[in-house]
Amino acid sequence: MNKPAITLSKKICMLGTFSVGKTSLVRRFVHGLFDDRYLSTIGVQIYEKQLPSIPGRRAENLKLICWDLANIEKLTPAIKNYFRGASAAIVVFDLTRPATFDVKDIHLDAFKQVNPLAGLVFAGNKIDLLPDVSSPPSELADLAGSHSAPLLFTSAKSGAGVAEMFAALGQLLLR
């Protein structure tokens, strides 16, 4: 007889400057929806999503508690409270806006300080907007490398790479 599967809840945070597509990526993943309109997040919206189990791996169900954070204008104690207890973060960049590649604005250091063991996944989003001959900026690859994080290219709009990115995250969480 199969043992009843245990459900593991894991908290993750979406980090990234304003309008890079944090909310859109989560909505694409959780609800399969995309909206062209931009509604800037204030505070945090929390989503839950059962991750598909990895066959032959463990009899575990992984439930993601996904904290879709607003752009962090100023690092306050209240912001650090949001970070608390996260097992991982998805760091999102807008491939069409190199200004979003600055991790100082994202307060990644503070996140790592609160959660020293948390895994990171880097997402270069809006890949659908890049002209087909241009390759994604290599500075992002360097950045991801320096944080030992996998870098995936996504489009919340077309859905490209989104499932792959969350699968990479699932791998990190089960490690």
């Binding site: 800037s40 929390i46 904290w67 409270n81 806006r97 001959v133 241009s134 900026p137 500075e139």
Partner: protein, 466 residues
């Protein structure tokens, strides 16, 4: 405090609460004043985790509160979206209270609706961010449009395919095509799509640099190598190390330097002028020429061995007249860009101008199209460019545009003399300013300089009109 006051206070502050015992099971709650729990189906008894699944990860925070190590814990502006999509904001406060009757500690959770306060903050931020995104868009779009290969025609698709393929290899690429077919742009795109994209892209137009300077430009020099060499300087080959070096109009490279370039290509080694030290540079070479290099080889103007070395991966870029309807696409993009640059309201072309552009066999290249549109956008007062704005006669080939009645003397003339006279006149009219002079003749600065050199017109000394 009597219970009914408490109820009023909670209502006035749009606050719900729940109380949990030390094993985190519910003891008491009132959710009436908050939509935060509206859709929750909780029984009479529930655990903290069932009530607040979002607290996963805060287990030790809860423990510290119950142990009295942490006085309170605040989670601000938690978004809540109801089934109808209405967004509200809530603040959650966790704190411990002592229940004296039972001598026990209770966990108190207060959830307050802060939508009114937060909505204002949201709308302010929204505006700020929208403006910042738009500004970034404008910048990058400008850059992107300036730097991308536009067009949907078959020939352009082929070029795009070519860029994609060759960018993945280190091989030298030779781009041929008339002037204004975008050779320099294609070189840039190859570099950018290649694994070297973050390394330098260095470009030089061989026609624009006097022969005497070309060698030191390319290979660099040591202090004292020649009279004016007051300090050492890296050459472009060194600047491009690990990246790409683009030599435009390679057909104009003096023969002596052709040999030196070939040696470098074969050995990846070179010496700066005035130096005995051999240096190494790993450079991907991209070259372009608007004259047929094969023909130049036959005329002994270009070394055959170098030609063979360069002529490995080549493409001939199509002129505008072969791109069919792409001319409209290009014109549209140029107008969009120019309107931004020139702060005009123009957004596109009228259908009749579009029709005219299509049926009128555009005689010039892309640069000339852009220049004509620039003049038109400057003078256009409306939202769409019309035929009158883009006076098509202004772009007709010289013979048709007012100079039609030139006369050729009985004993003929040398066409080179005519061209030289035009170059001198343009320089004269522009007071020696080459950029302006080039514009008078609707030439790019590079081409203008190239022709000055060809006809040995000395740019520094515009001849006075006799």
């Amino acid at each position: 405090m009597p219970g009914r006051y408490l109820k009023q206070i909670l209502k006035a502050h749009r606050t719900a609460y729940a109380v949990f015992d030390e094993s985190l099971q519910s003891l008491d709650y009132d959710f009436r004043n908050s939509v935060f729990f509206s859709e929750k189906e909780l029984g009479r008894n529930f655990s903290l985790w069932e009530c607040f699944p979002l607290l996963a990860g805060y287990e030790d925070v809860v423990r510290e509160i119950l142990q009295g190590k942490l006085r309170q814990y605040l989670l601000e502006k938690i978004n809540h979206c109801d089934d109808a999509g209405k967004l509200t904001y809530h603040t959650i406060l966790l704190t411990a209270v002592q229940d004296k009757d039972y001598g026990a500690t209770r966990l108190f959770c207060l959830v307050s609706d802060v939508t009114r306060e937060t909505a204002l903050e949201q709308s302010l931020r929204q505006k700020d961010y929208e403006v910042r995104v738009l500004r970034a868009d404008l910048l990058s779009n400008g850059q992107f449009l300036h730097d991308s290969l536009l067009g949907e025609s078959q020939p352009v698709a082929k070029v795009r395919e070519f860029v994609k393929k060759v960018s993945q290899y280190q091989a030298t690429v030779l781009l041929q095509g008339e002037s204004g077919t975008g050779k320099s742009l294609v070189a840039k795109l190859i570099h950018r799509a290649s694994p070297l994209s973050s390394a330098p892209f260095v470009e030089i137009n061989c026609a624009a640099i006097p022969d005497t300077l070309m060698e030191s430009e390319l290979f660099g020099y040591e202090k004292g190598a020649f009279t004016n060499a007051l300090s050492s300087k890296k050459g472009l080959i060194e600047e491009a190390d690990k990246g790409s070096l683009f030599l435009d109009e390679i057909g104009e490279l003096p023969l002596s330097l052709q040999a030196k370039l070939l040696t470098f290509l074969e050995t990846q080694r070179f010496r700066r002028l005035g130096s005995t030290i051999e240096r190494k540079a790993n450079v991907r070479l991209l070259v372009a020429s608007n004259k047929e290099l094969a023909a130049a080889v036959e005329q002994k103007e270009f070394r055959q061995d170098l030609f063979f070395r360069l002529n490995v991966v080549t493409a001939v870029l199509p002129p505008l007249r072969e791109l069919g309807e792409d001319i409209l696409l290009l014109a549209g993009h140029f107008v969009e860009l120019l309107a931004i640059d020139l702060k005009k309201q123009v957004t596109g072309l009228t259908p009749s101008l579009a029709q005219k552009l299509l049926s009128y066999d555009w005689p010039g290249n892309v640069r000339e199209l852009r220049n004509a549109l620039e003049r038109a956008v400057i003078f256009c007062e409306g939202k769409l460019l019309d035929i009158d704005d883009l006076s098509l006669s202004s772009i007709r080939p010289v013979a048709e545009s007012g100079l039609g009645n030139v006369q050729i003397p009985e004993d003929g003339l040398a066409f080179d003399d005519v061209e030289r006279a035009f170059l001198e006149e343009a320089l004269n009219k522009a007071g020696g300013n080459q950029t302006r002079a080039a514009r008078y003749l609707d030439l790019s600065l590079d081409t203008f300089r190239y022709r000055l050199k060809k006809f040995k017109v000395r740019p520094g000394h515009p001849p006075n009109k006799k």
